[in-house]
Amino acid sequence: MQASKDNIIEEWDLTIEPQTSLFELNFKDVWRYRDLLWMFVKRDFVSFYKQTILGPLWFFIQPLFTTIIYIFIFGGLANLSTDGLPQPLFYMAGITAWNYFADCITKTSTVFKDNANIFGKVYFPRLIMPLSIVASNLVRFGVQMILLFIMMGYYAMNDASFTITPAILLFPVLVLLMALLGLGLGLIITALTTKYRDLAFLVTFGIQLLMYTTTVIYPLSSAPEKYKNLISLNPMTGIIEAFRYAFLGQGQISVNTLGYSALFTIVVMLLGVVIFNKTEKTFVDTV
């Protein structure tokens, strides 16, 4: 009798219930919709440069101008050290890495609010949307990396003092860490802001301020000893330092700092996915 009852239950393809377990993440579903992820990335990329003359070149403009301003203010006026690296390379590397992280977090942090319309009308694994944001930012990041390479090529021909180190093999890991860290934090914020919007105000300027607590505009080596540990608390510090070390040969890379960043990322990511998963079920009613 019990056996036949079990058989009946197994027949269903889908059961909709109010409460599901906290860790039921349904990655199978996400995998089934992988084509959609790709479509969203394509949409973001194509719609970005539609009806523009310069097209994808616009991806270059923002980091280029930011670099110029940083050279002027932090390099020229404030005379901050760049660890002996050419200023454009130093700032460019920091900005490229930081921008990727910052874009991931700001865009994913409004994913529920921005897509309430689509989410309210059709079901697909909600995680696809933030994942697609991280992936389309990766495209942008890739394009900006090309700009960095061009500048590196220029300085290499002019005998500037930088070296590419074997740590460059860590590059994919660094990108993954930045992506997951941004995604994880973004997921937590978007889940917390569906009902109470307060936190959303914090994100916009918070990210801006957070940049100064990590080593985008100054090298960790130039920081006073008493602040070093404080600066290292920002999980992005280890990543940016490693990033600079890999491509330019200057920066403080250690197992400790990277390990800390990785651990932080994993915890944030897991927390983010669980909270997001919990919220996605009913956020349509409260957003």
Binding site: E11, W12, D13, L14, T15, I16, E17, P18, Y33, D35, L36, W38, M39, F40, K42, R43, V46, S47, K50, Q51, N117, I118, F119, G120, K121, V122, Y123, F124, K195, Y196, K281, T282, V284, D285, T286
Partner: protein, 423 residues
């Protein structure tokens, strides 16, 4: 046959009013009571049924309450109900857009839901790009779309614009393209909200035809929400009638249509018409009612219409002529009926309440019609004291026979019977 969808004790509560300060304290209260003290959810207790017109004592309402039904594989089931009856909430839960508060739904097969056409269309992208995007959102794989692309473009009828950004499309073209994608979804269960309300008449027919094909030919399960009873009757054998979040009845669609029309529109009671003549009221019209010859409110093609008229005569009338005309929805008069030739009715009218019933043979095609009522005194073949009531009531003629879908017939107003012989 096997069950495709099984819904058990499904409820959904909503909180009315604004979400803002004050709600956080209730959230905490609810959390403490349910999660820590393991008590029953305090909000479920005070919930009321969802009657939007009356003021309730609580701001928690049941949008759906204890819904139970089963749908068999291959069935086309309609869901009807007034605004706010919970139709859309039910579809939203079924398509996993939101989750229920209590209860359980079991589904067998892949579900594709169409709560809106063109969800996720990006205005900057071309028609072709949007087909891929929209298809993927609805759950199609890229391979599947590649395979069906030609068919989709063909069905949409916007081939010429397919490589133009959809922001340049007319709204009709937009909808055509969107529905074309949705119509080519391959799923065992299709859930459709009132998406057919848009698009021109020709395209609406095409959509209904396609959906009929899906459910009847394809053996797929279709759930269809609409206010348009004619569309529901065309597609669905069974209907779930929701009222204030509760299943009022589940029945054969033809039986339920009668009930629906009775409740929804009902008889139109007119206020008594004063000052019919200059010397004060000669007669009051108490009631004009239109029913089918079985007494129901749902009028099918080729089925006689009965017009019930109740008048209160105040003074003795001479040679009264009663008449009415039937107009199409654009106001063009189609025919006029009156009792001018045989004065039998007029001669039998007495002082006080008179009930007159008029049976009309119905040669109208399906559609919406309006009725004008008029009466006048016929003195020496001249109209005197004529009274004209425009658009006293509207009624819908519904096609019962689903198989004949011929566009040419549907464009005409009159539906005649012809007898064909060959020698």
């Amino acid at each position: 046959m096997a069950t495709a969808i099984k819904v058990e004790n499904l409820s959904k509560i909503y909180r009315l009013g604004e979400i803002g300060t004050g709600t956080i304290s209730r959230d905490i209260e609810r959390f403490v009571k349910t999660k820590i003290l393991k008590q029953e959810d305090p909000f479920l207790k005070i919930g009321e049924t969802n009657d939007r017109a009356t003021k309730g004592s609580s701001d928690i309402v049941y949008s759906l309450k204890d819904i139970n039904f089963e749908i068999e594989q291959g069935d086309a089931v309609g869901i009807i109900g007034r605004n706010g009856a919970g139709k859309s909430t039910l579809l939203k839960i079924l398509s996993r857009v939101t989750s229920p508060t209590t209860g359980k739904i079991n589904i067998k097969g892949r579900v594709a839901s169409l709560l809106e056409v063109g969800t996720g269309f990006h205005p900057e992208l071309t028609g072709r790009e949007n087909i891929y995007l929209n298809g993927a959102i609805l759950g199609m794989r890229k391979r599947e779309i590649d395979h069906k692309l030609e068919e989709i473009i063909d069905f949409s009828g916007v081939e010429r614009y397919i490589d133009t950004p959809v922001k340049r499309y007319s709204s009709g073209m937009y909808v055509r393209l969107a529905f074309a994608v949705a119509a080519h979804l391959e799923s065992e269960i299709l859930i459709v909200d009132e998406v057919l309300a848009v698009g021109d008449a020709e395209f609406q027919k095409k959509c209904l035809g396609k959906m009929g094909e899906i459910s009847k030919g394809g053996g797929r399960t279709v759930l269809f929400v609409s206010h348009n009873m004619a569309a529901i009757l065309k597609l669905c054998e069974n209907v779930i009638y929701l009222k204030n979040g509760i299943v009022e009845s589940i029945d054969n669609s033809y039986k339920l249509a009668e009930q629906y029309y009775n409740i929804n529109d009902g008889t139109i009671y007119l206020p008594s018409i004063e000052n019919y003549s200059n010397k004060g009221s000669k007669l009051d019209i108490c009631k004009i009612e239109l029913i089918n010859n079985r007494g129901g409110k749902c009028i099918y093609m080729n089925e006689s219409i009965v017009l019930n008229l109740v008048i209160d005569v105040k003074i003795e009338l001479l040679n009264m002529v009663f008449g009415f005309s039937v107009k199409d929805k654009n106001g063009n008069e189609i025919f006029f009926c009156y009792d001018y030739e045989n004065q039998e009715i007029a001669n039998q009218i007495k002082l006080g309440i008179n009930k007159i019933s008029i049976e009309i043979s119905n040669c109208l095609n399906e559609g919406l019609y309006l009725l004008d009522f008029m009466c006048f005194e016929n003195i020496n073949y001249q109209e005197r004291d004529s009274y004209h009531l425009s658009n006293v009531l509207s009624f819908e003629v519904i096609r019962k026979n689903v198989n004949i879908i011929v566009d040419r017939i549907n464009k005409t107003l009159i539906n005649t019977r012809s007898c064909w012989k060959i020698e």
